[in-house]
């Protein structure tokens, strides 16, 4: 066994290796750290050897990921040791333990400077290496001139010079304002004449950094770079040790070509000719060979040459050669080359007009979308998106839809958005567009944001020919046994508006349409119920002559929801009920929605906002502009042609979303539950759909004041959020959805998206929060704090303070359930956007039913248990009134979704349901829970519920949980456990997590 040459260190490493588990390892590390700490405390007795040994141990421990919060001083002090062995250790360990932000480094600056300006070459090397690896601002301020002096000194040997070049590169890259490089073009030109290829490689890296900052100053160096390339390409006088698998320093070739890409063009014809000869030689002369390393090295050069050709926009002849090469690459077996072929094709699309040539490879690219390697699939997706136009949109979008079914979770949202954008941009006909979006919702409803379905509604409304088709499609989707909530929304809307166009078809009479929509009502969330109510009103209006039976049915529903706890639903029910009694007036008021004014697509706008800098999009945009005549256009409509408009009613509940430039008056109207668009033309992301659908009528009519003064809307005001940035999802709605599923989006606004994924095992759970920055700049001051109720133990791993642009970070959250309780944990998430602090308090779906595990019991198992748990407090019974009407089957589904598994046929009475589950917490361990619900077929709004378990608190909490679900009060603030339950507790508005929090505390 090769040992470290330090016995103590080797023994320690062996012991760490021998640890059976992480816990043992931690104990061993803690012991060692304790030992080192004591030894360091009386430093006097420490020999240099011991000191070295201990700082190595510290580094080893630190490398394993443990915090080492002492001993930095000892490591730094070794730097000033007089002898090489100690100094070497000091420099290396310091550069690993500390980073540029560390205060301790300041202590060492003087020593380091002395080493740099001193005469000892080996000390110079050590010092330059440290500064090159971790040097920060203060180093740049005090050392840059010395490093520059070394770099241009004629007496400085190559081993020092190359380190000085990279050291300066670091200082310049980090703080270009501090390092003075005025007049450095001459120096740089001299450095590029260097014969030692090691020094030249380092100098070329420095040069790349300098030209990337300011190419104007370095024109004189351009011919030198071409000269370097010529020498390497001809393999003239290249020492053997600088060829790599027969290729003259591939790294230097790549760097030189990279440097040339920072010059906009090459004007001197001779230089240009020389360069193109080299490039031609690289493009033509690179063969695929057996040896992997040779292949990689030669292709590294080749791909850089391709990039340079693209950049210099060479004669078309060379460009088509490039495309041909790339076409070959995307079909080879070697996955690296395939990956790079796809990546470079996408880049090429951005810089030149090679669309038509690349289209020839479409079939191959689509094949890559099914590659086993996710890295390659991502590249293929990007390329397909970039190369899409009217001619191939149909094929590409259909491929994307197909892929959506099998794609990784992490790719779905991007896929869905890209498919939606392409479908809209390049649709050959409108019915296809509708098909695509409906399929998209069907396959990936969770990943389809509201604006996507708003856009479909807009198109259908504006294109009469499309209306019967869209309605029919919506009707077809409703036949499916399980459909996504978003599909429910769009179907209900379309059928409400246009189902009368289908009435001659079988199964499409108003009554049947109503029946099939209403069947789904128990399964949908509150905002969707409002849409359904509007659909009912529209169906009622369209059924002429009136069908008394249908009328009675719908009236019954309206009158039931007149007392709904949800303000929006209540208002709609009351108003529709009153309107529907008005006979002829109803027809005017509920007439079809007028056409929407032409607008820029919110989707494309959103994509532009978030991806403004990606050239892919700009490429697609420019092509879209050329082909504008083919793209979907929302036809303009004169509002004057529609006198009905003023009284038209909204069908879509307006989500409480707005862009950052939210206006106060809008907020006021929002508090009344129905939003009037104050400035309909302001081009809000969602403005295009919202304004014409708003309840008080057409754009331009100032409904705002009348509405806010309208005393009739005496609805509970919604607490206002003070955030300047509004979520673009209904936080309450998704929280409720997440209570019965384990992954999805928890929060989203224009800049940030928080996804959540959970796994539950017994009384423990592991949640992962996915914090995604949607913008192209970093998010700062990100903070996530968990406010946990007493019954949960929550441990959130650290959340980085900064999320880089377009990056997603994962933060695991460990949950332990101590006791049964319905209290909810809250995530206080804040970040800074620009100058404003955005702060949201989000409920976490770590709710009671997550700690259930389904269990099915037979009659023999159930009844003995049921009888054992005989009386309160273990068994509680309550008559629940105000239950939302649902069939027995729906109620069974509801219970099953909570993991309370219904055992059919266990109860002899067919009107009753019996369900069971196992609950896990630390205090109760696993505990059986039994539930029996006795319904009254004559009155669906009331039932008797009996709940039993071996723990009184659990019984109570479970009873309350089921009750909440049955009467559908969104999880509300409520009195502490063990007080008398209040069935109609104050509802908490969806957009007010603050109040919710207050309720919790």
């Amino acid at each position: 066994m090769a040992l470290s040459g330090m016995r103590g260190l080797s023994v320690f490493i062996s012991e760490i290796r021998g640890c059976q588990n992480k816990e043992q390892e931690r104990l061993r590390v803690d012991k060692e750290l304790g030992n080192i700490r004591t030894r360091f405390k009386n430093e006097k007795g420490l020999t240099p050897y011991e000191k070295k040994k201990y700082v190595w141990k510290m580094l080893y421990i630190f490398m394993l990921g443990y915090d080492v919060d002492f001993g930095h001083m000892e490591a730094v002090s070794l730097i000033s040791a007089p002898k090489y062995p100690e100094k070497q250790v000091g420099y290396l360990v310091t550069s690993c333990l500390l980073n540029e932000n560390h205060d301790f480094l300041r202590l060492a600056i003087n020593t380091i400077r002395n080493d740099i300006i001193g005469r000892n070459e080996t000390f110079q090397c050590l010092a330059l290496t440290l500064v090159g690896n971790i040097g920060g601002r203060e180093f740049a301020e005090s050392l840059a001139p010395d490093v520059q002096k070394l770099l241009i000194s004629s007496s400085c040997r190559p081993l020092v010079k190359k380190k000085a070049a990279l050291c300066l590169l670091r200082l310049f890259r980090k703080n270009p304002d501090v390092v003075n490089v005025d007049g450095w073009s001459d120096r740089m030109a001299q450095l590029l004449d260097e014969r030692n290829l090691g020094v030249l490689t380092s100098s070329m890296s420095l040069f790349v950094s300098l030209v990337s900052n300011n190419h104007e100053a370095y024109w004189s160096c351009l011919p030198k770079c071409v000269k370097v390339l010529e020498i390497l390409a001809r393999n003239q006088d290249v020492p053997q040790e600088y060829t790599y698998y027969g290729i003259p320093s591939p790294w230097l070739q790549v760097k030189t070509m990279r440097a040339l890409q920072y010059f906009p063009t090459i004007e001197d014809p001779n230089t240009r000719r020389a360069l193109f000869e080299v490039l031609q030689r690289v493009l033509m002369g690179t063969d695929v060979v057996k040896n992997v390393n040779k292949n990689n090295a030669s292709h590294a050069v080749l791909f850089e040459a391709l990039a340079l050709v693209m950049h210099l926009d060479a004669e078309k002849e060379m460009m088509s050669q490039c495309v041909a090469l790339l076409g070959k690459f995307i079909a080879v077996r070697e996955p690296n080359i395939r990956y790079l072929g796809l990546e470079n094709m996408t880049r090429m699309l951005m810089v030149t007009d090679v669309q038509e040539i690349i289209k020839r490879h479409q079939a191959q690219i689509i094949t890559s979308l099914k590659d086993p390697d996710i890295s390659i699939r991502r590249r293929a997706l990007d390329l397909l998106y970039a190369m899409c136009d009217v001619s191939n949109a149909k094929d590409i979008v259909e491929e994307l839809l197909q892929y959506l079914g099998t794609a990784e979770f992490t790719m779905r949202e991007e896929l869905a958005l890209k498919a939606a954008i392409l479908a809209e941009k390049f649709a050959p006909d409108l019915s296809w567009y509708v098909d695509v979006i409906l399929q998209l919702i069907d396959k990936a409803g969770d990943f389809v944001s509201d604006d996507i379905w708003f856009r479909v509604v807009q198109f259908v409304t504006n294109n009469e020919d499309l209306q019967p088709y869209a309605a029919l499609k919506a009707r077809e989707y409703l036949d499916k046994p399980a459909i996504h909530e978003t599909m429910m929304k769009v179907s209900a809307y379309l059928l409400g508006e246009y189902s009368h166009l289908l009435s001659r078809r079988p199964g499409c009479s108003p009554k049947e349409i109503f029946g099939i929509i209403h069947e789904k009502l128990p399964t949908v969330s509150t905002p969707t119920i409002s849409i359904l109510l509007s659909s009912y009103a529209k169906i009622l209006m369209h059924s002429q002559p009136p069908d008394p039976e249908l009328q009675n049915q719908i009236w019954a529903i309206f009158s039931k929801y007149e007392t709904s706890i949800d303000a929006e639903i209540q208002q709609r029910a009351v108003e529709y009920f009153a309107l529907s009694k008005k006979g002829a007036a109803l027809i005017d008021i509920l007439a079809e929605m007028p056409k929407f004014p032409e607008r820029e697509s919110s989707l494309i706008k959103r994509a532009e906002d978030t991806e403004a800098d990606t050239a892919e999009l700009s490429a697609i945009k420019s092509r879209a502009q050329q082909q504008a005549s083919n793209a979907l256009v929302v036809t303009d409509q004169q509002p004057a042609n529609h006198p009905l408009q003023v009284t038209q009613l909204a069908m879509v509940k307006i989500p409480s979303i707005n862009e950052e430039n939210n206006h106060v008056d809008q907020e006021v109207t929002q508090t009344n539950g129905s939003l009037g668009e104050g400035e309909p033309q302001n081009g809000d992301i969602f403005g295009d759909l919202l304004s014409p659908l708003a309840i008080e009528g057409p754009p331009g009519v100032s409904g705002t004041e009348t509405l806010s003064e309208d005393g009739a809307l005496a609805l509970a005001p919604i607490g206002e959020q003070e955030n300047a940035v509004k979520p673009i999802v209904d936080i309450a709605e998704i929280f409720h959805a997440l209570c019965v599923k384990d992954s999805g989006v928890l929060y989203e606004d224009p800049y940030v998206q928080i996804g959540i994924k959970a796994e539950w095992r017994g009384h423990q759970g592991r949640l992962v929060l996915f914090l995604g920055n949607k913008t192209t700049s970093s998010l700062d001051s990100v903070q996530a704090v968990i406010l946990s109720p007493s019954h949960l133990k929550l441990e959130l791993s650290s959340v980085p303070e900064v999320i880089p642009p377009r990056a997603q970070v994962q933060c695991p959250l460990e949950v332990v359930n101590l006791r049964p309780s319905r209290d909810v944990a809250v995530l206080d998430f804040s970040y800074k956007f620009g100058t404003s602090l955005v702060d949201n308090k989000l409920r976490l779906p770590a709710v009671l039913n997550k700690f259930f595990q389904p269990i099915t019991l037979s009659a023999e198992e159930f009844f003995p248990q049921w009888r054992t748990l005989a009386a309160p407090p273990l068994k509680l019974q309550e008559v629940v009134r105000g239950v939302r009407p649902m069939s027995l089957g729906e109620m069974a589904n509801l219970l099953n979704s909570l993991k309370l598994i219904v055992s059919p046929g266990l109860d002899p009475n067919a009107n009753n349901l019996v369900a069971s589950t196992t609950f896990y917490s630390e205090s109760t361990r696993s505990m059986l829970c039994l539930v029996r619900i006795e319904t009254d077929p004559a009155d669906r709004t009331q039932l008797r519920m009996t709940v039993a378990s071996g723990d009184p608190t659990l019984t109570f909490e479970l009873k309350e949980l089921i009750k909440e679900q049955l009467i559908s009060i969104p999880t509300a603030s409520r009195p502490p456990v063990h007080q008398q339950p209040q069935p109609t507790t104050q509802p908490i508005s969806s957009s007010d997590p603050g109040a919710l929090l207050a309720g919790l505390l």
Binding site: Y84, L92, T129, N133, R170, S249, L252, A297, P804, P805
Partner: protein, 161 residues
Amino acid sequence: MIHFVLLISRQGKVRLTKWYSPYSQKERSKVIRELSGMILSRGPKLCNFVEWRGFKVVYKRYASLYFCMCINQEDNELEVLEIIHHYVEILDRYFGSVCELDLIFNFHKAYYILDEVLIAGELQESSKKTVARLVAAQDSLVDAAKEEAASISNIIAQATK
């Protein structure tokens, strides 16, 4: 630019880490956790690049060890892949067919050698011979100091006998 270098064993054990961009210790652990999750689970016939947090990680497996380097999206992937191989060849020459155990017990040597190959996340020297010469020179400096110390302590020992 290379932001960091990681050597991770097939079991997910860290063998060497070198960070050229500032990361806190917490971030480092997280990065390692995330990347080992992504990279160790990849099959053998896939490409050597994974896309991660807007960066690219170029990796290559040698026996039981994964060498990973994180670069910017626009950097040349193959060039970095061969930097990995270049480093491995130098290690191999230094240790004489290097194995994981060599790197575990001589992690400090692996660091010294890396410092001769990369500075500031950029390639410093592409000649294996030159690197070998410089590392040997360092070793002899250390040895010389050791001998000197030994002889001094001998002198002292003899003088105080």
